[in-house]
Amino acid sequence: MAVLVNKDSKVIVQGFTGKEGTFHAGQMIEFGTNVVGGVTPGKGGQKHLDRPVFNTVADAVKETGADVTIIFVPPAFAADAVMEAADAGIGVIITITEGIPVQDMVKVKTYLADKDVRMVGPNCPGVITADGAKVGIMPGFIFKKGNIGIISKSGTLTYEAADQVVKAGLGVTTAIGVGGDPIIGTTPLDAVKLLMEDDETKGIVLIGEIGGDLEVKAARWIKENSTKPVVGFIAGETAPTGRTMGHAGAIVGGAEDTAQAKKAIMRECGIHVVDSPAAIGGKMAEVIK
C-alpha cells in the first residue's frame, strides 16, 4: 500500500505559478502524480499547466477535494503557507522550501500540534511512492518499485540509497525525505512507525546525519517494536564540531549528536549500521533474506 502518498492522492501545489513550482509541478504530472490544481494568491481563476489556480488553499480544497499539498513558497512566507494548508484541512503537507527562519517553525509546530495533519519537511526533497505518486523534487525514475522503505534527512543521499537498493535487486515502496532543518514536521521516528505498519514494506533504510537526537529516538523505538530489518547510515563522521554543514540542523553541539555516538546507539538497538555510504544497498540485500 505504501505510505503518505499514492496514485489516488489529490495533490495541490502552493507557489504553483512560481519558477520552482511550475518546473516541479510539471515533473510531478509527468511522473503520473494526480496534481489537481495549485494556489497562488491573486491568480485565482487562471489556468496553469492545464490545471486551475486558486487564491486560497481553502478554495482549492472546496473545489478539488485536495488532500495533499506541496509547498514551494519562498522562505519568508512558507510558514504562513503551512498554517494555511493545515487550517484548510489538508492532511499531508510536504514543505520543500529551504531557509525558513527557525522561530517561524517554532510557531508552526505549535500551530499544528492539536490538528490532525502530517507535515513533512521543511528543507526536504519530498515523498515518493514508486509507481504511485511523486510529491517532491527527486528524479522519479530512480525509485523503481520494490519492498524497501527509505527515510532520509538529505536529498541526493536519498537518491543514492534508492539507486543502491534498486541495483541490489530490491526496489522501493515509499521514500520519505524528512528534511535537514532543526525543526521538522515528520521525524525519523514518525516515518519509521509509518513504514513499520506498511505491509508492503519489508525492510527500512534509515539515513541520518550529525546534529540533534532524532535518529536516536527512532533507534530506541526500533529496539522495542521492530518487526523488519533496518539498515542505518549517519553522515558526518568527519564533520568538525560547531560548524553547520549545509543543512541548518547539521551541526555537532555536544558529544551526543556526533555521527559516532548516534551509530553506536543505533547498533545497540539492533540496526544494521554501515560506515560507508556505498554499502547501504549491499547491506540491505544481505539482511533482508
Partner: protein, 396 residues
C-alpha cells in the same frame, strides 16, 4: 552568524539589560581615550582589556587582562592587539586580534561578595521550544558543570504560543538563590535577554558570566549571540554587523557565489551536490585512507562556471593531494556536469592533482564517455564504491 562580545552586549543593552559597560577600539591610543571616558561615565578605577575574536576561552589564551592604570591600559592593549590568540576553540595557529573591548571593572568590593551565574537561551531541538538554561555555577565551562554536577544546571521551557511568563522569571531568579533587589534585577535582566533573543531572531544567547555585583546589580559581563542565518533578510541591522575578517577568506569567497564551503584540515578535496551526500563523501574519503580537505556543496546547478569556481576554491588549499567529484544527477543531467568539468579543467589549464569524477544518475553513461574522450587526466567512476577504490589507489 556570530556576533562579537561588544555587539552582543550592545544588543542586550538596547533591549534593557544591564551590561558591563565598554568601548570597542582598534588601537592602544584609542584604548587610553576609551578608558578615561569609562572612568568619567562609570567611575571605574581599573579597566579590563578584552580581545574581540569569534572564539570562546579567550581568558585562558591571555586575551583578557586587568589594567590598574592608564599606562597598563596602553601596554596591555598593545600586547593584545595584533597577537595570535590561541584558545581551546581556535585552530593551533590561533586568531589574529584586530579589535579590543575596553571595559569597566565590575568586580569592585562592597556590601556583598560578587557572584557569577550562567544564563543561556536557545532553541531546544528535541521539543521545538525555546528554553532558558541556567546555573549558579557561572564563569565555568557549562558542559563540564552539566557533566559533573547535572543537578546544578536547570531548564525553563517557554510556550511558543504564550511567550515567557512572569512566574517563569520569578522561578529562575528564586532557583538561582536571589532575593531583594538582586532578585528583582534578575527578573528584569532575564526579560531583556528574552526580548533580545526573540526580536533579533537569535538562535542562541549565552551570558557567562552573568554577575551579581557587590551592590546587588545583575549584569552581563560576557555575551555571545548567534543569529539565525535564515532570518537575516529581516534583520538587516544585524546582518551588517557580520565581521568577515573573523571568517575563513575562502569560505567568504564561496559564499558570495552561493557555494557552501567549509575548510577542513585533510588532503582530499571534494565537490558534491547536496549537503548530506557531501558529508557522506567526506566520510568515504576517510574510510579510503585520506582525510577530507573540505565540505563543498555545489547545489542543484552544477554548470561549468560553478564547477570551475569550485575547483579553484579547492585548489587554493596547498594540502590537497587529490580531488573527488561526486555528483548524483537527478534533475541535473550528468552529461552536462561532465561537460562542465571538462570545460572548467581546460579553462584552469593544468590541475596539478589527480581528479576522480563519479557521476551517477540521469545520463551517467553518456557522462563517462565525455570524460573518457576529453583526454584529460581524470579517473571516472559510476558506482560509489568504485570511486572509493580509486581514491584509495590514488593515495597509496
Amino acid at each position: 552568524m556570530n556576533l562579537h562580545e561588544y555587539q552582543a552586549k550592545e544588543l542586550m543593552k538596547k533591549h534593557g539589560a544591564k551590561i558591563q559597560e565598554g568601548i570597542m577600539v582598534e588601537t592602544a591610543d584609542d584604548a587610553v581615550v576609551a578608558a578615561k571616558k569609562l572612568t568619567e561615565e562609570t567611575g571605574t578605577g581599573w579597566h579590563v582589556i578584552k580581545a574581540q575574536v569569534h572564539a570562546g576561552g579567550r581568558g585562558k589564551g591571555g586575551g583578557v587582562k586587568l589594567a590598574k592604570n592608564l599606562d597598563e591600559v596602553k601596554s596591555i592593549s598593545n600586547d593584545i592587539l595584533g597577537m595570535q590568540l590561541i584558545t581551546p576553540q581556535t585552530s593551533a595557529e590561533g586568531k589574529l586580534v584586530r579589535k579590543i573591548l575596553v571595559a569597566q571593572d565590575v568586580y569592585y568590593p562592597g556590601e556583598v561578595d560578587p557572584k557569577e551565574y550562567y544564563i543561556s537561551l536557545l532553541m531546544d531541538r528535541s521539543s521545538g521550544r525555546n528554553v532558558f538554561i541556567y546555573s549558579t555555577e557561572g564563569g565555568m565551562d557549562i558542559e563540564t558543570v552539566a557533566e559533573e554536577t547535572p543537578h546544578l544546571v536547570q531548564k525553563e521551557f517557554i510556550d511558543p504560543a504564550l511567550g515567557l511568563q512572569g512566574f517563569q522569571l520569578r522561578k529562575i531568579a528564586f532557583n538561582l538563590g536571589l532575593s531583594g533587589a538582586a532578585f528583582k534585577d534578575m527578573t528584569k535582566f532575564l526579560y531583556s535577554v528574552y526580548n533580545s533573543y526573540i526580536k533579533s531572531d537569535a538562535s542562541m544567547i549565552e551570558i557567562n558570566p552573568c554577575l551579581k555585583t557587590s551592590d546587588n546589580q545583575i549584569m552581563a559581563v560576557d555575551g555571545k549571540i548567534s543569529i539565525d542565518d535564515n532570518a537575516l533578510y529581516r534583520q538587516k541591522d544585524l546582518a551588517e554587523m557580520r565581521d568577515l575578517l573573523e571568517e575563513d577568506p575562502t569560505e567568504v569567497e564561496a559564499d558570495k557565489v552561493g557555494l557552501n564551503y567549509v575548510k577542513l584540515d585533510g588532503n582530499v578535496g571534494c565537490m558534491v551536490n547536496g549537503a548530506g551526500l557531501a558529508m557522506a563523501t567526506m566520510d568515504m574519503i576517510k574510510l579510503s585512507g585520506g582525510e577530507p580537505a573540505n565540505f563543498l556543496d555545489v547545489g542543484g546547478t552544477a554548470n561549468a562556471e560553478r564547477v570551475e569556481i569550485a575547483f579553484r576554491l579547492i585548489l587554493k588549499d596547498p594540502n590537497v593531494k587529490a580531488i573527488l567529484v561526486n555528483i548524483f544527477g537527478g534533475i541535473v543531467r550528468c552529461d552536462r556536469v561532465a561537460q562542465g568539468i571538462v570545460d572548467a579543467y581546460k579553462s584552469i589549464g593544468e590541475i596539478p592533482v589527480p581528479i576522480i569524477v563519479r557521476l551517477q544518475g540521469t545520463n551517467a553513461e553518456e557522462a563517462q564517455v565525455i570524460i573518457k574522450e576529453s583526454g584529460l587526466k581524470v579517473e571516472s567512476a559510476i558506482i560509489l564504491e568504485e570511486a572509493a577504490q580509486k581514491v584509495k589507489a590514488v593515495l597509496a
